[in-house]
């Protein structure tokens, strides 16, 4: 449009709207949509520092510290606030234009000094957002200077991670911050021949605090001493008892420091712990393992049997009975899920878990979508699908977003969608129920409190899925098909 031209205000004709409304549901549109190269629409992933903050906040007395623009910190905090309906303390050094020019060292100095004075943290993990990453701040130097200049005590743990938002996703930020914190805390703690006898458990990026509690319950039932790193359950699922606690809990720093002398270390997510586990592999004593999240019966079996093997403890009868009850629920309800098609969107490790659960139920994980991941993911997911006839028709979509998913749902529909709240728009357009599993969930309550891992989590998912399908049947059937029993 040239500057001078003045146009009349126009109204789009209704029939035009109807035409496009129909058009965006077509195969033709799907093709155009999948031809996108530059535009991303409704992605299902967030940026690195968010994941870093999840780790940074889940250690006892730890105050997450964002080196970068203040807006970033506010976005991370509110995202956690909405998902958990809990406080999410984090501070930042509020870099502005001058930071762009002179670098962020002064902001860091002042920020660390104030944060330490006001909130008396036991640890200040620092992670970056875009700005300092682009201008290339040297955090190692800055932080050392902050201590030598006395802005914060020398002995205050200040691990830091570079977490540029233009690289990877929140799960990579989780990985980097985890690795940084463990490196910092375990520095010089490795004692030849010493063994804590404990299991180090790294859950990976998981918005479900119920999962963390479930891991702990299982370990306690097994009589295995453990350190969960990082323990979000005591930070993002805290009591309302009349006093706000800035530092409600999390992994104790001593425990994290001792973890290097652990009897075994298990990561229950592969993709969010790559660097951490690589480093642990080199430095930690004891066994080191990366296992899939224990979704469904078999993955939970594997987890428990591995624990039993590592610690020479039998799996207690109570857990065996729990397994049997979960299987009972599955055999009793198989007919409500058998052959049902699902679209699944989320983080890589969650996707593996959900898919293996669906395959166990005889359901079909039909569209499997990860909006930012690697070819390796695609290969491994293929392997998993090949283990079951119910994976024969599945399709995997990597680096595709929820607007791609919408096209898939419209042109090749399914019975249910599993994903986080962001998938609700596609679900609504396709009139397909959305089962909220993942992160973030900002439109329902308490789902983060209900585990989806372990035998109990398996029953929870089964209940959620089967009963929703029964709800739909009862709500939509004609009178003559309405029945007392289902």
């Amino acid at each position: 449009m040239s500057e001078c031209a003045v146009k009349k205000v126009t109204e789009t004709p209704p029939e035009e709207i109807e035409r496009v409304k129909a058009w965006i549901n077509t195969d033709e549109y799907k093709e155009k949509n999948f031809a996108r190269e530059a535009l991303v629409i409704n992605p299902a992933h967030a940026c690195q520092p968010l994941g870093a903050q999840m780790v940074a906040t889940a250690f006892e007395g730890s105050l997450p510290f964002v080196h970068g623009s203040q807006g970033c910190a506010s976005y991370f905090r509110s995202t956690f606030n909405r998902h958990y309906r809990e406080p999410a303390a984090a501070t930042c050094d509020a870099m502005t234009e001058d930071g762009a020019v002179f670098g962020g060292q002064n902001n860091l100095f002042e920020g660390l000094e104030n944060a330490y004075a006001l909130y008396q943290p036991k640890m200040i993990p620092v992670y970056t957002t875009c700005m300092p990453e682009v201008i290339g701040d040297d955090l190692t130097a800055f932080i050392t200077n902050a201590k030598t200049k006395g802005h914060i005590p020398e002995n205050l743990p200040t691990p830091y991670a570079n977490t540029p938002s233009f690289n990877g996703t929140h799960i990579n930020g989780y990985d980097s911050m985890m690795c940084a914190i463990l490196k910092y805390l375990t520095e010089g703690q490795n004692v030849e021949g010493k063994c804590t006898g404990k299991l180090n458990l790294i859950p990976g990026f998981d918005g479900n605090t119920g999962n963390i509690r479930e891991y702990k319950r299982l370990l306690e039932a097994m009589g295995i001493p453990y350190t969960v790193m990082a323990d979000t359950s005591e930070v993002f699922d805290t009591p309302c008892d009349g006093t706000y606690k800035l530092y409600p809990g999390g992994t104790r720093l001593e425990d994290a420091a001792e973890s290097i002398n652990g009897k075994a270390t298990i990561a229950l997510q592969r993709y969010s712990t790559v660097n951490t586990m690589k480093w642990i592999e080199e430095t930690y004593t004891g066994e080191k393992l990366v296992m899939p999240m224990p979704f469904g019966i078999q993955k939970t079996d594997e987890f428990l049997m591995k624990l039993s093997e590592l610690f020479g403890k039998p799996i207690p009868a109570e857990l065996k009975a729990e397994r049997g009850r979960a299987v009972d629920a599955m055999t009793d309800a198989h007919q409500y899920l058998h052959g049902r098609k699902f679209a699944v969107a989320g983080d890589p490790d969650y996707l593996f878990g959900i898919v293996s659960f669906l395959l166990e139920m005889g359901a079909i994980p039909y569209h499997i979508l990860c909006s930012r991941t690697t070819k390796k993911f695609e290969k491994e997911m293929k392997k998993l699908l090949e283990t079951s006839p119910f994976g024969a028709t599945s399709k995997i979509y990597i680096n595709k977003d929820l607007w791609h998913l919408r096209s898939l749902l419209m042109t090749d529909p399914v019975d249910g969608i599993i994903g986080d709240t962001h998938a609700k728009w596609a679900a609504r357009d396709a009139k397909i129920p959305l089962f909220r599993i993942g992160f973030p969930i900002i439109d329902r309550v308490n789902l983060h409190r209900s585990p989806v891992v372990g035998y109990q989590g398996t029953v929870n998912m089964l209940t959620m899925l089967a009963n929703k399908f029964l709800d739909i049947k009862d709500e939509t059937c004609e009178d003559q098909w309405f029945e007392m029993m289902r």
Binding site: M1, I17, I41, G71, Y75, E97, P164
Partner: protein
């Protein structure tokens, strides 16, 4: 507006002591920086004493957002018929996707666009620049969303640092696509808060939109525009009908449920009515200077303010409008009285503390007072001096005023003043609820709303009563 009568227990001395004690917990430098932003209210003072619109003190845990948030979240996002591109890395767009509750009509993805559009910058884009990608992206968006009336390009931090020229790209693509392509350099590192994002966005509207359209129909004497209502929880849909009921034609809304072409033709209206002064006074002034369009601030929170506002608005027009305004006031008076009768008995004598963006603390005071609730403390995330000047007279003497309050300070203030309700944002909500203090999100109406207009007051009253009188609070203290 007569001065508020003092609030029992609230004195200038107590408030000043509270401020002093609170500051005492901070490092000297921080104290010095923060002290001017805190004060005891002096309603009669010519100008409010507290400083504002200054940089966040690093490390204090401010609640502020950034310029991008002010641009994308506040000004641009609500324009329903444009595709708003979060230009840069993935995060900003995702976090601000659907989290502000600026509702809109239209068919999502067809004629309205409550979606997250982003260029999802990768390392290579930082290294080689994102202009080419932006071009391609706009082409793709135009193909997939043919009914979009235009595109806004909202730059995130890296864009301004790697020397991209989105203005050039926008200009080129506007010509190529024959549709508005509006660049907005709202990088998050610019300025001290969301506020600069508002200003930058106002400037973009000035430079790229306003005056480029005109209404198809004749302009009438009662044509107005509604400025600074973002339709949070449906506010516009509760406010606009009232203005229409008093005889005015609302030709454009800035920007709640807004349509960009109507915004572009707003220079034709006879009067601009502005609700959120903070975020849009800039354009009102521009239109006043350039097109001599007068503007008027009004307040649609609570019957008292609504009535005053309707009379003030009507006074700008002839008798027809004035008669209608009186008729509307008379019509809703009993309805509002019924609301007050239902809730006030349960709320009389309660106190509340507020900390919100740039307008609501002062604008909602009347609504709280209509319910018998007094405000013992108020402050803004990103207000300026003129906002505080407008606030002072609305608050009782000695009440606490805090600008860009940190979590550290606000906790101490609430602990001391023990309000029955805190009205603030999501980041503060659970902090206070853990302490057993009822809370309402006053940015987003806590997933409720509308709160504007007569309809809004009914909902506001219900929500405030629900928050304060929920029996769940009695359960907080464990008997063991």
């Amino acid at each position: 507006m007569s001065e508020r009568k003092p609030i029992p227990g609230i004195t200038t001395e107590r408030t000043e002591k509270l401020i002093k004690d609170t500051l005492a917990g901070m490092p000297d430098k921080a104290q010095k920086k923060r002290a001017p932003h805190l004060g005891a209210n002096e309603p009669t003072a010519s100008s409010c004493a507290v400083k504002s619109n200054k940089k966040v003190v690093p490390g204090v845990m401010s609640q502020r957002g950034c310029a991008y948030a002010g641009a994308k979240g506040v000004v641009w996002g609500p324009i329903r018929d444009m595709v708003h591109v979060s230009h840069g890395p993935i995060g900003c767009g995702v976090y601000s996707w659907g989290t502000r509750r600026n509702l809109m009509q239209g068919t999502p993805g067809v004629s309205s666009f409550p979606l997250d559009f982003t260029s999802d910058f990768q390392e290579r884009d930082i290294v080689y620049g994102g202009d080419k990608k932006l071009e391609k992206l706009l082409n793709e968006a135009n193909q997939l969303f043919p009914l979009a009336k235009g595109f806004s390009v909202l730059s995130e931090c890296p864009v301004g640092l790697i020397g991209d020229d989105i203005n050039a790209v926008a200009k080129k693509m506007e010509a190529e696509l024959g549709k508005l392509v509006v660049p907005c350099n709202c990088e998050g590192f610019r300025g001290v808060s969301q506020s600069l994002g508002h200003h930058i966005s106002n400037d973009s509207i000035r430079d790229h939109i306003i005056g480029r359209f005109e209404f198809a129909e004749e302009i009438g004497p009662y044509d107005v525009a509604l400025i600074g209502d973002y339709n949070i929880g449906g506010d516009v849909w509760a406010a606009k009908p009232i203005l229409e009921e008093i005889g005015l034609n609302v030709k454009a809304v800035w920007t709640g449920d807004g349509e960009v072409e109507k915004i572009g033709a707003t220079h034709q209206v006879k009067l601009n009515l502005i609700h959120c002064y903070r975020s849009m006074n800039y354009m009102c002034k521009v239109m006043e200077e350039k097109w001599n369009i007068p503007w008027l601030e009004y307040n649609f929170f609570g019957p008292t303010k609504i009535e005053a506002s309707l009379r003030a608005i009507a006074a700008r027009f002839d008798e027809t409008i004035q008669k209608k305004a009186e008729a509307v006031i008379a019509k809703y008076q009993p309805v509002m009285q019924a609301v007050v009768d239902e809730y006030r008995p349960r709320l009389e004598g309660k106190t509340a503390m507020l900390f919100v963006g740039g307008l609501r603390p002062r604008h909602t005071i009347g609504a709280y007072e209509d319910l018998g609730i007094q405000i013992t403390g108020a402050g803004y995330e990103f207000a300026h001096q003129d906002d505080y000047d407008r606030t002072s007279p609305e608050m009782a003497k000695g009440t606490l005023i805090y600008d860009d309050v940190s979590e550290f300070e606000l906790e101490k203030f609430v602990e001391e003043l023990k309000p029955d309700l805190v009205g603030s944002g999501i980041k503060e909500k659970y902090v206070f609820q853990k302490a057993g203090i009822p809370f309402r999100q006053m940015h987003s109406w806590d997933y409720s709303g509308p709160y504007h207009g007569y309809e809004g007051f009914r909902i506001f009253a219900r929500d405030v009563d629900m928050a304060i009188n929920s029996p769940t609070w009695k359960l907080v203290k464990s008997p063991f």
